[in-house]
C-alpha cells in the first residue's frame, strides 16, 4: 500500500426534510489506502448503501467531508473517480451485454469498435463468449453481476464501489463470482470498497474490514486480514480465520437488539 486515496472526516448523512429527516450515518471517519480492498460489514439498516452512495457522489454529507487524495493528472478530467456496482438492477435492460459492459467507455466517447473490442475480450475471459448480443433478461443473476463487475473495471475509475453485488447469488455462484473478482483485482489493483452482510465473504476478499453499528451507522470496529495473496478459495476454514470470523460476528451481534426468546419452548 503506497498512500491514501480517500478520506472521510466526521461525516454525517441524513435523508428527507424537516421532522421526518433521518440520519443514516454519523461521526464517520476513515481512510482508504491506494490499491486497498476494504470491506464494510454491518446489520441491515446500518447505512452501508448510503456510505457507497456518499463515496459515489450521489449523496452529499450534511457535516464533515469526503476527500479524494489523488495527484495523477488523469483525474482532473471529467472522468468519474469511482464506479459503482449495484446489488439489483445493475444492468440496463435495453442494452445488450456488450453495450452494458462498454457503457462507461461510451460515456468517455471511446470509439465504438474500440470499446466493443475491449469489452468482448474481458467478457470472453469471464465465460461470456457468445453472449455479447444477448439482453440482460436472457442471463442468469450470476452472469449479470459478472457483466456489471466487468463494466466497473472497464470504466477505468481508480476506486470501485460494490454494494453487496453477490447477495442474490446462490452459494456456488457466489464463490465463483468472488474468485473472478479477485482475479480481475489481482491484475489491475484498483481500490475497492466492498459492502456486504456476509462476514465470510468480507474475510475472503479484503485486506481490511470495517464494522458499522446499527443505524445511524458509525464505525465500531476495524479488523485486518493478514493473509498473503493470491488466497486459497476456502480461506476462512483455517483456525485463524475462523477466530476472526467469530470475533467479527460477535461484534455484529453486539450492535443489534437481543433476539426475544419469548414463546420458544
Amino acid at each position: 500500500m503506497t498512500g491514501k486515496i480517500l478520506r472521510c472526516s466526521g461525516v454525517r448523512v441524513a435523508y428527507g426534510d424537516g421532522p421526518v429527516r433521518t440520519t443514516a450515518l454519523r461521526h464517520l471517519t476513515f481512510e482508504v489506502g491506494q490499491n486497498e480492498f476494504l470491506s464494510v460489514v454491518g446489520p441491515s439498516g446500518s447505512g452501508k448503501t448510503s456510505l457507497l452512495r456518499l463515496l459515489a457522489g450521489l449523496l452529499r454529507p450534511c457535516e464533515g467531508s469526503v476527500e479524494f487524495l489523488l495527484d495523477e493528472p488523469k483525474h482532473e478530467t471529467h472522468w468519474p473517480l469511482t464506479s459503482l456496482v449495484f446489488q439489483e438492477n445493475s444492468l440496463f435492460p435495453w442494452m445488450t451485454v456488450v453495450e452494458n459492459a462498454a457503457f462507461a467507455l461510451e460515456v468517455q466517447k471511446v470509439d465504438r469498435a474500440e470499446r466493443e473490442r475491449s469489452a468482448t475480450e474481458l467478457l470472453a475471459r469471464f465465460g461470456l463468449r457468445g453472449r455479447e448480443r444477448d439482453y440482460p433478461h436472457q442471463l442468469s443473476t450470476g452472469m449479470k453481476q459478472r457483466v456489471a463487475v466487468i463494466r466497473a473495471f472497464l470504466a477505468g475509475a481508480p476506486i470501485l464501489l460494490m454494494d453487496e453485488p453477490f447477495a442474490a447469488l446462490d452459494c456456488q455462484s457466489r464463490y465463483r463470482a468472488q474468485q473472478e473478482l479477485l482475479d480481475l483485482w489481482q491484475q489491475d489493483r484498483k481500490t475497492v470498497v466492498f459492502v456486504t452482510h456476509d462476514v465470510g465473504e468480507a474475510i475472503r476478499l479484503s485486506d481490511r474490514i470495517l464494522v458499522l453499528s446499527q443505524g445511524p451507522g458509525t464505525i465500531i470496529a476495524e479488523y485486518r486480514v493478514e493473509q498473503p495473496r493470491p488466497r486459497p478459495l476456502l480461506l476462512e476454514d483455517s483456525e485463524e480465520m475462523l477466530d476472526l470470523n467469530r470475533e467479527i460476528f460477535a461484534c455484529l451481534q453486539l450492535t443489534q437488539p437481543p433476539v426475544s426468546m419469548a414463546g420458544a419452548s
Binding site: 450521489l58 459503482l84 440496463f92 435495453w94
Partner: protein
C-alpha cells in the same frame, strides 16, 4: 391433432361462427332480411370492391385517422417531454389534461365546429386531440416511473444530461410509448368513424349511415365488419413493430 393446434384458436372461432350463421340463415331460423348469410356478405364485399367504393371510403377514414393520430401523437410526445422536464408544469397542467382525457371526445365536436368551421380541419383536430391526450398522459407517466437506479447508474459513470435522456429515459419509456401509440391509433380510428357517422360526407362511418338510411342491410354489415377488421389489423401491425423495435422486453 397437430394440424388443429397449428391454426390459432381465434381462426377456428371465426370459422365456426360464420358456419353456424350460414347454416341458421339457410335453414331460415335467422331471418335473412336482418341477418344476411355470410355468403351474401362476401358477394357484397366483392361488388363493393369492384366498384371501388369500399377502398375509397376505407382510404378516406384511414387518412383522417392517420393524419389526426400522427399530429396528435407527435405533439403528445413533445408535450410529455416538456412536462416531465418541469415538475411545476406537470402539476399545473395535469388536472386539465385528466379532465379532457376522461370526457367523451365526441361532445367536443360541436364546439370545434363552432370555432373552426364545419370542415375537415375540425374533424381531424378532434382526432388529433384524442391521440394527444392519451399519449401525453401515458408517456409522462412512463417518464416519471423510470427507475432512478438506472439514472443514478448512468450518472455515476459520468453521463451528462443528453446522454441520460438518450440512453436511459428514452429506451426505458419506449415500451410504454408503443402501448400509448397502439391505443391512441385504435381510438383515433373509432373516433374518426363516429365523426363520419355524425357529420361526414364520406368515409366508412358515412357509408354505414347511408346504408342504414337506404336499408342496404348487407352493406351495413360489411361496413361494421370492415371497421372492426381495420382496428384489429392495425393493432397487430403495431405489435409487430413493437416486437422489432423493443427487443429487450421479456415476453
Amino acid at each position: 391433432m397437430r394440424v388443429i393446434r397449428s391454426v390459432p384458436a381465434a381462426v377456428w372461432f371465426f370459422a365456426l361462427f360464420f358456419t353456424c350463421w350460414q347454416a341458421l340463415a339457410s335453414l331460415r331460423i335467422l331471418d335473412p332480411l336482418f341477418f344476411p348469410p355470410p355468403s351474401r356478405l362476401f358477394s357484397t364485399v366483392g361488388s363493393l370492391l369492384a366498384s371501388g367504393e369500399l377502398g375509397r371510403e376505407a382510404g378516406r377514414t384511414l387518412t383522417r385517422a392517420s393524419v389526426g393520430f400522427g399530429t396528435g401523437a407527435v405533439a403528445g410526445i413533445l408535450a410529455a417531454a416538456l412536462v416531465s422536464s418541469w415538475p411545476w408544469l406537470h402539476r399545473a397542467t395535469q388536472p386539465a389534461i385528466a379532465a379532457l382525457y376522461s370526457s367523451p371526445k365526441l361532445t367536443l365536436l360541436p364546439m370545434l365546429m363552432l370555432l373552426v368551421g364545419v370542415n375537415e380541419t375540425s374533424r381531424i383536430l378532434l382526432v388529433g386531440l384524442s391521440s394527444f391526450l392519451l399519449v401525453v398522459m401515458q408517456v409522462s407517466d412512463a417518464v416519471r416511473s423510470v427507475n432512478p437506479d438506472y439514472v443514478n447508474m448512468a450518472a455515476s459513470y459520468g453521463a451528462g444530461q443528453a446522454m441520460v435522456i438518450r440512453r436511459v429515459y428514452l429506451p426505458a419509456c419506449l415500451p410504454q410509448i408503443f402501448t400509448a401509440l397502439r391505443l391512441a391509433f385504435g381510438r383515433a380510428l373509432v373516433l374518426t368513424i363516429s365523426i363520419e357517422l355524425l357529420s361526414g360526407q364520406n368515409g366508412l362511418g358515412s357509408m354505414i349511415w347511408s346504408a342504414w338510411q337506404t336499408f342496404a342491410v348487407e352493406k351495413l354489415y360489411v361496413g361494421v365488419m370492415l371497421a372492426a377488421g381495420l382496428g384489429l389489423l392495425f393493432q397487430a401491425l403495431f405489435r409487430i413493430l413493437e416486437r422489432r423495435l423493443v427487443p429487450w422486453e421479456r415476453r
